[in-house]
């Protein structure tokens, strides 16, 4: 971003802050964070980032305007400015309409994306200072219509936004291994974003009931794959291959629920992806990489409870791929017919809730690998928090988490909410 643009952005942020102090029914709030992480194996510091995450809100009788600018500052890198969200809310008697760039969260799962397919993910860093930053906003029109405890929600995402993947030079980049001899030069072209057209937009529909005994939602949508697939392999010469990538469309249906039994909260979520496009890798064929369509089920069940003064939570996630073959791959890594993942979380507070201890863990069974995230935070009051923790990648290096074994981190963060 050029200097003039940066200055304009900073001016815009300051102007909105100033406006909020003048205008009635306006507020300018947010958080400034300093986050640093050290790799435990190499003792280098790959991240020392300052973040301004701000919200400007202006309310009227009709509704509310929300602007959500974010500024990231990293050493020796250009300032990264982003308007993370910008939308209008209109509150009608029995309906709400939100128009603009917005994040939409679906489902009951924590740390897993089953029906939560409206907002793509920012996977440029596998580990983020705040999990909430993993979602990217989409340009959309969202309508919620209410009838008693029932809500009907329709979402039209006007432009497809893909999940962001790590840059090739990032410590989180995964270099795919293609089935060609080392003498063959492979060129991978960036995937083309589908043209901006009505045909290429995404639509989602949900109906749900907010109930005391049980709350549930049924969802569905017509979407593009968040990550690109290899769409074609060509051989311009005997010693070179050109790999093209594309985003492919599919539909899904699913649902989620939550209920309570005494002190136990039971959550569930499932989705059926109909004829989901997946890559098939078979070196004996020509071309060796093709697209196949397989239905896929993801199902999760979770339990939350309180015990010994602490909050506990555990989840089990299963992914089943129908008509599975051993050639199926995702990002050139084998896809299993059944994949099983567990998550576990425990959190307790001390010193009148000023000190919080947390542990979050992912455990993938085959191959056995895990991500452990112990952390501690101290709240000084008045919106100032000091945090520290570790992200430990352990286990089989072919696993989702074990592959980052050399990226285990110790981190610290200071936040100031204003």
């Amino acid at each position: 971003m050029r200097i003039k643009q940066k200055l304009f952005f900073v001016f815009l942020v300051l102007m909105t802050a100033g406006l909020s102090s003048i205008a009635a029914n306006s507020s300018f709030t947010g958080m400034v964070r300093d986050y640093a992480a050290v790799r435990t194996q190499t003792m280098d510091m790959p991240v020392h980032e300052q973040t301004l995450d701000a919200f400007y809100e202006h309310s009227t009788d009709m509704g509310q305007l929300t602007l959500h600018p974010v500024v990231y500052s990293n050493p020796n890198k250009a300032l990264q400015l982003d308007l993370a969200e910008a939308y209008f809310d209109f509150y009608l008697e029995n309906a709400d309409v939100r128009i603009g760039k917005q994040k939409v969260i679906w489902g009951e799962a924590e740390g897993a994306f089953i029906t939560d397919l409206v907002s793509p993910r920012d996977m440029r860093s596998f580990i983020l200072a705040d999990f909430s930053e993993i979602r990217k906003a989409v340009p959309a029109v969202k309508v919620d219509s209410y009838a008693g405890p029932y809500t009907l929600q329709g979402i039209w995402v006007t432009h497809f936004i893909p999940t962001s993947l790590p840059e090739p030079d990032s410590m989180w980049a995964q270099t795919p291994s293609f089935p060609f001899p080392p003498t063959v030069a492979v060129t991978v072209t960036d995937p083309a974003i589908p043209d901006a057209s009505l045909e290429n937009s995404e639509v989602f529909l949900s109906i749900g009931r907010f109930g005391n005994a049980i709350s549930w939602k049924l969802n569905g949508g017509s979407v593009f794959t968040d990550e690109p697939l290899v769409s074609s392999v060509t051989a311009p010469t005997a010693t070179s291959r050109e790999i093209s990538q594309a985003y492919e469309r599919y539909t899904f249906v699913g649902g989620s629920f939550n209920t309570a039994f005494g002190g136990l909260v039971l959550r569930g979520e499932a989705a059926l992806a109909l004829d989901k496009p997946m890559n098939s890798l078979d070196p004996s064929k020509n071309p060796p990489i093709t697209i196949e369509r397989h239905s896929q089920i993801q199902a999760l069940v979770g339990l939350d409870w309180n015990m010994a003064g602490a909050q506990w939570s555990s989840q089990y996630l299963m992914v089943y791929t129908h008509d599975h073959t051993d050639t199926l791959v995702s990002q050139m890594k084998p896809v299993k017919e059944f994949a099983h993942t567990f998550t576990f979380r425990v959190q307790d507070t001390f010193l009148d809730e000023q000190l919080t201890l947390r542990l979050f863990a992912y455990l993938e069974l085959e191959p056995l690998n895990t991500l452990l995230r112990p952390s501690i935070s101290y709240n000084f009051g008045n919106g100032v928090l000091l945090e520290g923790g570790m992200d430990l990648f352990l286990g089989d290096k072919d696993g989702t988490f074990g592959t980052y074994a050399s990226n285990s981190l110790a981190w610290a963060a200071l936040r100031w909410y204003f």
Partner: protein
């Protein structure tokens, strides 16, 4: 001889005082008093601003502000709270639905950073409410059937006649015995003592101020003191309004996300 007569007089006075107290107290059973407290007119709907001041053992003070909405309908007490400060919890909202028939509460929390309403485990009634000396149970109306109640005596407090009611929990509680000083006829408490399992005094709730708003007695200033931790929490209620007209969608996921507007 004179000493003996003096003892007789003192004994007579004690018998008379105890006897009169027992007579007065016998007008109401403990169960009746606590049901009167539970069923006291507290308005079908209410809105108030709460300022919570937490003082720790070292004397340092933190303040939290909340706007609270309440509605009683058909055996369900719905309560919706929006946290206004401190800044790190601003726009977080908490919805609880309590049932007269003794069913477990339904509790939900909305975390704006996650943009998600989560049902939370509700057996945490003995847990601290927002790090304060109040528990979730203290913040709501405890159902009388959860305890056995006995009127111990009648006592003057703040120039008002109160009935001192002993409540013994039927279930497993952190404070299995409590004493409540209930204003006779108006049926609200002026003081409550919480006794631990070993019989020692654990917490004291003191009412500093109350007023009548729209014909309803409202406790506008109260302090909970934890004697073991040497901490205290003061809750002041301001801008109290009763009998507001909430629409059907107010105590729902929708309003939790929208915030205290509309």
């Amino acid at each position: 001889m004179r000493t003996h007569r003096c003892y007789q007089t003192v004994f007579l006075v004690i018998v008379l005082v105890l006897g009169m107290s027992a007579l007065v107290a016998a007008d109401f059973t403990g169960e009746q008093v606590m049901w009167e407290v539970y069923n006291r007119d507290s308005g079908d709907t209410m809105r108030a601003n709460l300022v919570m001041t937490l003082t720790n053992a070292r004397g340092s003070v933190r303040e939290r502000s909340i706007v609270q909405y309440r509605m009683d309908t058909e055996g369900v007490e719905s309560k919706l709270m929006f946290f206004l400060s401190p800044n790190d919890v601003r726009n977080t909202s908490f919805l609880s639905l309590s049932y007269e028939d003794g069913r477990s509460d339904a509790q939900y929390i909305y975390l704006p950073a996650l943009k998600r309403v989560k049902r939370i485990a509700s057996d945490s009634k003995n847990d601290s409410f927002m790090g304060s000396d109040f528990t979730y149970d203290d913040m709501g109306s405890r159902h009388p059937s959860l305890d056995s109640h006995t009127v111990l005596r009648k006592e003057q407090m703040q120039g008002t006649s109160t009935l001192v009611v002993e409540s013994i929990a039927k279930g497993n509680e952190d404070y299995p015995r409590t004493l409540s000083w209930v204003v006779e006829g108006e049926w609200f408490g002026l003081k409550k003592e919480f006794y631990k399992r070993d019989g020692t005094l654990g917490k004291t709730l003191s009412i500093e101020a109350f007023e009548q708003i729209d014909g309803i007695y409202v406790i506008t200033d109260m302090t909970m003191k934890d004697w073991e931790k040497q901490t205290s929490t003061r809750i002041q209620m301001k801008d109290v309004e009763f009998n507001l007209d909430f629409d059907d969608n107010f105590f729902t996921e929708r309003q939790m996300k929208i915030g205290p507007r509309g």
